[in-house]
């Protein structure tokens, strides 16, 4: 069985993809380029180091699946790790720099919606098998996420009567929320594999 696996790797993946060393080289070059770009940005504009680090990891997790096609366990775990770092770093930065707090409810719900969208899309990008994985648990999770997203959007557009007012009236808030929830659900629900 082990022998078959080795043959399989050689027969199928290697014919289409660059050599693993070349994949790593490309990825390293892109990250080096981004590091130089960030260095020059910090020379002209004062940006906190935390933002620079999070941006760097965000770029790494965005480019990683494009360049690294090595189907090895370690490569896959590294993708997950990059995702976790980016997500947690992003949420922390949002809390710290965007003044997100429950008191400022419209900003709070908008932040939740943004984290949901970017978080799920990035996860689908890094672990592409998850896009197609269809099970009752995944569908329930997607429904719950869509409901949360819809509630956030409605509060953001309409507000909460007596607490905070939004930017649209009730009719348009409902319409815009429905459109956005459909868009969100269509994007996150398991796709057909082919």
């Amino acid at each position: 069985m082990e022998e078959q696996k080795l043959k399989m790797q050689a027969d199928i993946e290697r014919w289409y993809r660059p050599y693993p060393a070349l994949q790593i080289f490309f990825f390293t070059m892109v990250m080096l380029f981004i590091s130089i770009f960030l260095y020059y940005i910090t020379q002209t504009i004062v940006i906190p180091l935390e933002i620079i680090i999070t941006f760097w990891f965000g770029a790494a997790s965005f480019f990683y699946p494009f360049f690294i096609k090595i189907r090895r366990r370690s490569a896959m775990i590294l993708g997950w790790v990059l995702y976790g770092i980016t997500l947690f770093g992003g949420v922390y930065l949002g809390y710290k720099y965007l003044s997100v707090s429950i008191e400022r409810i419209r900003e709070f719900v908008l932040f939740i919606a943004v984290v949901e969208v970017i978080g799920i899309e990035l996860l689908h990008h890094i672990v592409s098998e998850l896009k197609h994985y269809r099970s009752s648990k995944v569908i329930i999770a997607d429904v719950i996420l869509s409901i949360i997203f819809g509630a956030c959007m409605f509060i953001f557009f309409y507000g909460i009567p007596g607490v905070v007012s939004g930017i649209l009236d009730l009719f348009w808030s409902i319409i815009v929320t429905i459109v956005l929830v459909i868009l969100f659900a269509y994007a996150i629900f398991p796709e057909r594999p082919f």
Partner: protein
């Protein structure tokens, strides 16, 4: 300084949590491998099998076998039909509905390859549109940071922090791009299906909602060729599914008053997934020898099932010390 250390700690916690999730989800599954190996080894020609047979042969609990089969069904290696469980050839990249349609139209022929021509992957316009959406979604937050009037404008519309508003716009653009991608995939599925069957030859869709009306009979195939364009090379290096054009040259027999005229005609299948394997399959049916498929079926099935997609590196042979 403490803030920065907290930030680093939070990032590390995120990395560790998701690293553990990744570790757990990519664990090799020996039972699934065993079941798959058994099915491909025993039922490649017979195709239909039952859970009972497998659980008896491998001495596994029926519920475990059923669970693993469901996981394999997700990967498209097996399929549950009215007759029971069925082994699907590993080079069939069709949805369940289309696979059943192909079986019906070929009268239950042995389908060796099935896929959709992924035109959208090599469409320059679509590719540029995606790039534009991505660039725009990144530019808006950057503009807010470096050019304050943009931020003020967003605040006047949304009434929230300008950077948060720009991130919201970016998120909306990403959702739109994803929805656009899903629509393109739907069109591809309805328009560009190709099937290679053991006896029927090559069948393909000619127009939207077609029922595989185009065909090249097995005996008429003369030559097969693979061509990979520069965009396809780029896609193969950085995209999910490797593609290439496959040109099939065939003979067409036409009758006129003076008798039969044999003409050569070629059909180009554009952006076929895994073109090398498509080439081998066509060569196999042309020569009437399915040895290549038989030899590689277990390997291909495991690759497709991604059992759970771990491929150990080949250990380098130990160097001998010079004496």
């Amino acid at each position: 300084m403490i803030d920065f250390l907290i930030f680093i700690a939070i990032m590390a916690v995120g990395g560790i949590i998701f690293g553990i999730i990744g570790y757990l989800t990519t664990r090799p599954d020996p039972i699934k491998e065993e079941i798959l190996g058994y099915i491909v080894g025993k039922f490649l020609d017979e195709r239909y099998f039952s859970v009972k047979k497998i659980s008896e042969a491998l001495q596994l609990d029926r519920t475990i076998v059923e669970d693993k089969l469901r996981e394999l069904e997700q990967a498209g290696v097996v399929m549950k039909t009215r007759k029971g469980w069925q082994l699907v050839d590993p080079l069939v990249f069709l949805t369940k509905r289309d696979y059943e349609r192909a079986l019906r139209l070929t009268r239950g022929d042995n389908i060796l390859y099935g896929a959709y021509q992924l035109y959208k992957l090599t469409m320059l316009g679509g590719f540029l549109l995606f790039i534009l959406i991505l660039i725009f979604s990144a530019i808006v937050p950057i503009l807010v940071l470096i050019y304050p009037p943009v931020g003020n404008f967003l605040t006047s519309i949304f009434g929230v922090n300008p950077f948060l508003a720009s991130l919201f716009l970016a998120a909306l653009l990403i959702l739109i791009a994803d929805a656009f991608d899903n629509i393109l995939k739907y069109i591809t599925r309805e328009r560009y299906m190709v099937v290679v069957a053991e006896h029927a030859g090559i069948l393909f869709d000619c127009y939207f909602l077609d029922e595989l009306s185009g065909y090249i009979r097995r005996g008429r195939i003369r030559d097969v060729e693979i061509k990979i364009s520069r965009i396809q090379y780029l896609n193969n290096w950085f995209g999910d599914t490797p593609v290439g054009d496959v040109i099939v040259k065939g003979r067409v027999v036409k009758k006129n008053k003076s008798g039969q005229i044999i003409q050569d005609k070629q059909h180009v299948f554009k952006s076929i997934p895994y073109p090398r394997e498509f080439f081998f399959i066509i060569q196999s049916i042309k020569l009437g020898n399915l040895q290549w498929r038989k030899q590689n079926a277990p390997i291909l099935a495991m690759w497709k099932a991604g059992t759970r997609p771990v491929f150990p590196t080949e250990a380098a042979p130990a160097r001998r010390r010079k004496r």
